[in-house]
Symmetry: C2
Subunit: 205 residues, 2 copies
Amino acid sequence: MRIAELARRGGVPVGTVKYYLREGLLPPGELTAATQAQYGDSHVQRLRLVRALLGPGGLSIAAIRDVLAAIDDPTTSVHDALGAAHHALPTADADPRTEDWAEARDHVRRWGWTVEDDSPNLSLLAGALHALRTAHFDTSDRLLDRYADAAAVLAEEDVATVPTTSMTEAVRHVVIGTLLLEPVLLALRRLAHENASMKRFTPPP
Amino acid sequence: MRIAELARRGGVPVGTVKYYLREGLLPPGELTAATQAQYGDSHVQRLRLVRALLGPGGLSIAAIRDVLAAIDDPTTSVHDALGAAHHALPTADADPRTEDWAEARDHVRRWGWTVEDDSPNLSLLAGALHALRTAHFDTSDRLLDRYADAAAVLAEEDVATVPTTSMTEAVRHVVIGTLLLEPVLLALRRLAHENASMKRFTPPP
DNA sequence: TTCATTGGATAGTGCTACTCTCCGTTTGTC
DNA sequence: GACAAACGGAGAGTAGCACTATCCAATGAA
């Protein structure tokens, strides 16, 4: 197919496809002449993946480029691909202060989790906890433990369902599952809040 | 205090404070002369709240304005404040297709949750599920049920710990808890993924 | 033959969250 | 009492991002 059909099947304007090609998010098509190229189904799938990561996934163009590079690199291990996905995500702009970072690390240690010492996710947690504190919102260890328990249960499940057939598939599954299930989880939590708040604060008719 | 100290205590440049004043995110100080105003501790707290919502919270200036208006309005009920917070959040730009929306609603019904028929969170869930599908990521009902269970447990806990002393405090607690615990949950899930992936895919030394 | 479409490159747009500059006024300091 | 620094307020300007528009020569379909 040519660029117009690729754009149509991906649900985006032609100009946007050209932009993605320029930015390296889509591999170039196979040139059949100086001004003619062919695209295949793999291009359609890649385009749709880019759109999913851009929208609900909340990634930037640059972050998507990193994630795709990790997916495409045949030497990437599943664990490294997950790391690449984490590194590619929007990190806290300013590195959190040492005390916040230490607090985050202590929590993780308390739960018996093994993570990299310089994991960007530790900075993320530190930043999130710092934000709560500056907003004067008390977070008891008990509350955090519950959140950690829930996160652990979901993560175990996610990792357990990684396909072992092909490394490429495994990497794809881990990256997409990590990134695209996040908005699902947030939406579910908000809906659950709505339900719980309804039951608690509005009297039945 | 005057604007320079307010800015220092909030950790932002003076120009940014002026911008927030202009945008209505901070109430004006008390004028003591034509070019002199006094700010209090409440301004510092409000400024820090704005920064927390802007950074880890991921809200836009306009969204923050709506959330603050709900917090400040003495007639807001706790349930309405939660709704205001949800409405203020970045919603999926395009309204999801009817089939996605119906699927989301069916899931919620299956879990026995009571939510508004036109809740923006339903659109959010629909968009998130649609993104997974376009990325060719299979989501079994069983997986979704696990995520829903986890979300329900956390939401029950969150709603149960809302202070009942003062309505203003309750509204503040609900809004901040809803918005600022989201990045905490995401960070925890990523750390749990890192831990689970480490245990599963890298052999012990 | 005609005319829209193609791949490719460059420049421009709209939006957001600031940031800069300017103004006349006030304050603290010498 | 002089005077530089800081003040509140307003408007214009900036940087980054994700496109979007325009142009070009070459090509394909009618």
